[in-house]
């Protein structure tokens, strides 16, 4: 039975129809046209579909839309603010830390969650935290470098403000 629920996505209230098995990924992409979140495997094995739910990275392909109700969801479309890229996005650009771009939204959101909990991660901490995110283009060393760069940028702007 389809029911209508409201989700808090990128700071906006959005109404969706859900069946009991509707995934958050499907709701985002098929109903809300937020197509930046990508399908990679549908089985939680690649993390291309990662979104933030109350600040934690979640595989939207394995998350039922109903369980997202009442939580704050951030997708890649909500990362840049007022037309300005987030430092993590800026750092990925500077380090050229992606090629085909398909895994990138999931990478960025996972990196955001990492830097929120650990503002100055080591190489190992980055690699371990990002372990579930697959990049077949093989840009991993640059992703690690980009996250270090983003961490520096975020620390220095926190220092200034």
């Amino acid at each position: 039975m389809a029911t209508e629920i409201e989700l808090d996505i990128n700071g906006k209230r959005r109404a969706i129809h859900t069946e009991p098995d509707t995934t958050l990924l499907s709701a985002l992409r098929d109903q809300l046209d937020l197509t930046g979140t990508k399908y990679g495997c549908g089985e939680g094995q690649c993390a291309a579909c990662t979104v933030l739910m109350d600040g934690s990275p979640r595989r939207s392909c394995l998350t039922r839309a109903t369980t997202a109700a009442g939580k704050k969801i951030v997708t890649i479309e909500g990362v840049a603010q007022n037309g300005r890229l987030h430092p993590v996005q800026q750092a990925f650009l500077e380090e050229q830390a992606f090629q085909c771009g398909y895994c990138t939204p999931g990478m960025i959101l996972t990196a955001l969650a990492l830097l929120k909990s650990n503002p100055d991660p080591s190489d190992d901490e980055i690699a371990q935290f990002m372990e579930g995110n697959i990049c077949r283009c093989g840009t991993y060393p640059r992703i690690v470098a980009a996250i270090h760069r983003a961490a520096r940028m975020m620390r220095s702007s926190a220092h200034e403000s």
């Binding site: 399908y39 089985e43 050229q96």
Partner: protein, 775 residues
């Protein structure tokens, strides 16, 4: 004048949209009234189909149509194979199976429904009555007399046998001073596993009688021709668009049955039809890579000079040919001598049918296999003769002044300096220091290994004489009345960043800011002709076409400006958005000259209005990039786990247009090549069931598995194109796999290990350590 823009680390034009999730991949396309398709696939590797019952699927909610193999017979053409090999056997390969199935995952029927979930649910209700047949998955068994024959109408399971021979084997075989070293090497099956799976949106518009297809493809123009043929549509009525493509690695250099069925369904129903491959389908039914058995024999002088090489290749082609399936192993034969001037060669390649998904191009496509063979063999020779692996290689390199170099394989290497890259590698890695460290650690019972690989690859595919669909590439440059420039390319990049490279090339020729150039590719209605992106050809062939088109524009603009300024065209320089004399005394803005050309008020005599030019660049040969890699590995004596401690790579891909992109290609290539050596293997059981059908089972490399790569590039420009660029997309993959295996075998040398087959997963190594401990 040195270029201000070529060779610079310029950030990619593609990136701002991708970093914000604003790129449009196939699955992001939504059209009014769009229907969704799902496939019922074979669960058997080999079976007769007694019946296909679609009644339950038809009455399933949301279902609009169910299409079977019987329905499309005679209405939709076969999946094409373009490989030109003498005597090649080509089995009928329908888009949907009829009568029998030959591999697990073969499409049998398609359901079209109002949403993708309803389509999937209905597809699962299709009942197929199978009569299982004997299955053959081992290509050597498929060659045995009495084996089940997958395509009985073809007689046996041998698709082709190709022989390549050169030199004077009588002399070699009668020389008793030569040492003969033999080894069997296995190049296991891999999954390309691009992050974006395959996908297609087909939209047949009955009014205009036009078919528009959005496909996640590397070859929109070839796809357009082939779909027009398959569907019997006049080619000018068929448009293919490759939107943003999330990786291909060769697997999207193809035309798949599913694409044909989507187009057929759209034409039949008069509605847009979308099909998006699931990950399980991707691992099962998108082409696989590699899968060769190589029996190699080398003939070596006592001083280490290798004089002859023989190799017998058994290539597991799978059940049917995809677009280039049989052509891939023939590239292995072509490159089997690597960067050594070995005067005598014999290669026999046997392509064999088995009850598996087809193999086809996967990053490197035939060359990683060749490089693996020759580079493993060189290490074996060094060890047999107790020589250092680097010294042995140096001894067998041709000298730089021998190029262009004719090889007995029939190819001509354009230009190289193998000594230079190897010397540089030894220096930046501290090779001799590492050897001393290794010696010290061995005394402590620790296993450190050094693995070299000096590779050469064949790129910039290629002369049209060697390519079934032609090997040229199309490029066009247009100057708008505002002075902004549009570049069109017939290539179809999908993550390589060529919008940036191409803009650099055009901006350099025209002396205009990089930001004034916009590059388009991937739409056959926008770009008149094209071949595509594969075989590390995009910059070297496609970039050259753009360069040549821009040169025509420049010539014309120089004539127009010279007429206005009263100087000779040859006196004019294009730089910083101006066209001016060397002393700057006379000058016009680029946009000003563009307006002159387009508004056409005072053109010099004999000059036509407008500024648009195109070029079909036909390369006279392939290019042959090369490099030297060193892997440093540690083997954990307790667990058998291999730690890649350091990786050094010195690559020479000719002229570098953008070092940031070149490094990125090397990094990505390394990740895939190292993946094959250490982790990846696509495994079927003897019943033809795929054992590695999810990303939980198939070990795509992850972030924590790599060290920082120490990479350097050198530039030996090719004379084959005016840019001097050779190609770099596959170099990392080709060079790295043998480096890793050589390093691990070197680490385990104290245990008497001579060879290990890939992937070198910890269990395999642990068993060897354990064996040794108990012995």
């Amino acid at each position: 004048m040195p270029s201000t823009i070529l060779g610079k680390r310029i950030k990619r034009k593609e990136d701002p949209r991708l970093i914000q999730g604003r790129g449009h991949y196939v699955d992001d396309i939504k059209l009014d009234g769009m229907l969704h398709m799902a496939f019922a696939r074979s669960i058997h590797a080999h079976a007769r189909i007694k019946s296909v019952n679609v009644a339950a699927a038809r009455s399933s909610p949301g279902v609009v149509d169910v299409i079977t193999g019987e329905e499309i017979k005679g209405k939709l053409g076969l999946v094409p194979c373009a490989a030109g090999i003498e005597g090649l056997k080509v089995p009928d390969h329908p888009c949907l199976a009829t009568g029998k199935v030959c591999y697990v995952g073969e499409p049998i029927a398609a359901v079209v429904a109002t949403d993708r979930y309803l389509a999937r649910d209905a597809a699962d209700k299709i009942e197929v009555d199978y009569e299982p047949l004997p299955v053959v998955t081992d290509p050597e068994k498929a060659l045995q007399a009495g084996s089940t024959v997958i395509h009985p109408e073809l007689g046996d399971n041998v698709a082709f046998v190709a022989r390549l021979e050169g030199g004077d084997w009588k002399a070699v075989e009668s020389d008793s001073s030569l040492k003969v070293i033999k080894q069997r090497l296995i190049n296991q099956r891999l999954a390309p596993a691009s992050m974006e799976t395959r996908g297609v949106v087909a939209h047949y518009s009955p009014g205009e009688e036009t078919l528009t297809v959005w496909s996640s493809t590397q070859i929109p123009h070839i796809l357009k021709t082939q779909l027009a043929l398959m569907l019997g549509i006049d080619e000018p009525h068929c448009r293919v668009i490759a939107p943003e493509v999330g990786g291909g690695f060769g697997s999207k250099l193809n035309l798949y049955g599913e694409e044909g069925v989507a187009c057929y369904a759209s034409r039949k129903l008069g509605k847009p039809v979308k099909w998006i491959e699931s990950r399980r389908e991707n691992l099962l039914a998108t082409v696989h890579g590699r899968d060769q058995i190589n029996d190699v024999e080398v003939y070596v002088q006592p001083d280490g000079k290798v004089v002859g090489l023989k190799c017998w290749i058994i290539a597991d082609l799978g059940a049917y040919h995809q677009l280039l399936t049989p052509a891939i192993p023939t590239l292995t034969a072509l490159m089997i001598l690597g960067c050594y001037h070995i005067k005598n060669v014999f290669v026999e390649t046997k392509g064999v049918f088995t009850n598996k998904m087809a193999t086809d191009a996967y990053r490197g496509a035939g060359r990683p296999e060749a490089t693996y063979v020759i580079e493993r063999v060189m290490d074996m020779v060094a060890r047999e003769l107790n020589m250092d692996a680097a010294d042995l290689r140096m001894k067998n390199f041709p000298s730089p002044d021998e190029f262009p170099l004719d090889l007995p394989t029939g190819v001509t290497y354009d230009t190289a300096n193998y000594q230079k890259t190897l010397k540089r590698l030894l220096k930046i890695s501290g090779y001799s220091r590492l050897r001393k460290e290794q010696e010290k650690l061995r005394k402590q019972g620790k296993y450190l290994g050094l693995g070299l690989s000096t590779y050469v690859e064949i790129c910039a595919m290629g002369p049209s004489s060697r390519m079934p669909a032609g090997g040229w590439e199309f490029g066009a440059v247009k100057v708008e009345p505002t002075g902004k420039v549009m570049v069109l390319s017939g290539t179809s990049p999908h993550g390589q960043g060529e919008e940036t490279t191409f803009a650099q090339i055009a901006a350099d020729v025209l002396g205009i800011p990089f930001d004034d150039v916009t590059v388009y590719h991937g739409d056959t209605f926008q770009v008149p002709m094209g071949i595509g992106t594969f075989g590390s050809r995009t910059t070297a062939v496609g970039g050259t076409a753009i360069h040549n088109a821009a040169m025509q524009i420049r010539k014309k603009m120089a004539r127009i400006a010279s007429h206005k300024l009263g100087v000779k065209p040859g006196e004019l320089i294009f730089s910083e958005g101006k066209i001016h004399t060397r002393d700057g005394a006379k000058s016009m803005g680029f946009a000003e000259v563009a307006a002159e050309a387009i508004f056409a008020k005072q053109l010099p005599e004999g000059i036509e209005p407008g500024l648009a030019a195109h070029s079909f660049f036909e390369p006279s040969n392939y290019t042959f990039p090369f490099g030297a890699h060193l892997a440093v590995t540690e083997v954990d004596a307790e667990t058998g786990e291999i730690k890649l401690r350091n990786y050094y790579a010195v690559d020479d891909c000719g002229r570098v247009i953008n070092p940031m992109l070149v490094d990125g290609q090397i990094h990505g290539g390394l990740a895939q090549g190292i993946g094959q050596a250490l982790w990846e293997s696509h495994v079927y059981d003897e019943n033809g069931q795929l054992m590695t059908g999810t990303l939980m089972d198939y070990a795509v490399p992850k972030a924590h598995q790599f060290p920082w790569f120490e990479t350097e590039t050198m530039e030996t420009k090719t004379p084959i194109n005016p840019l001097g660029a050779k190609g770099v997309g596959e170099a990392g993959t080709i060079g790295s796999t043998p480096a890793i295996v050589n390093a691990v075998v070197d680490a385990l040398r104290p245990l008497g290990v001579r060879h290990l087959d890939m992937p070198l997963q910890p269990e395999k190594v642990w068993r060897i350590l354990k064996q040794h401990a108990t012995a």
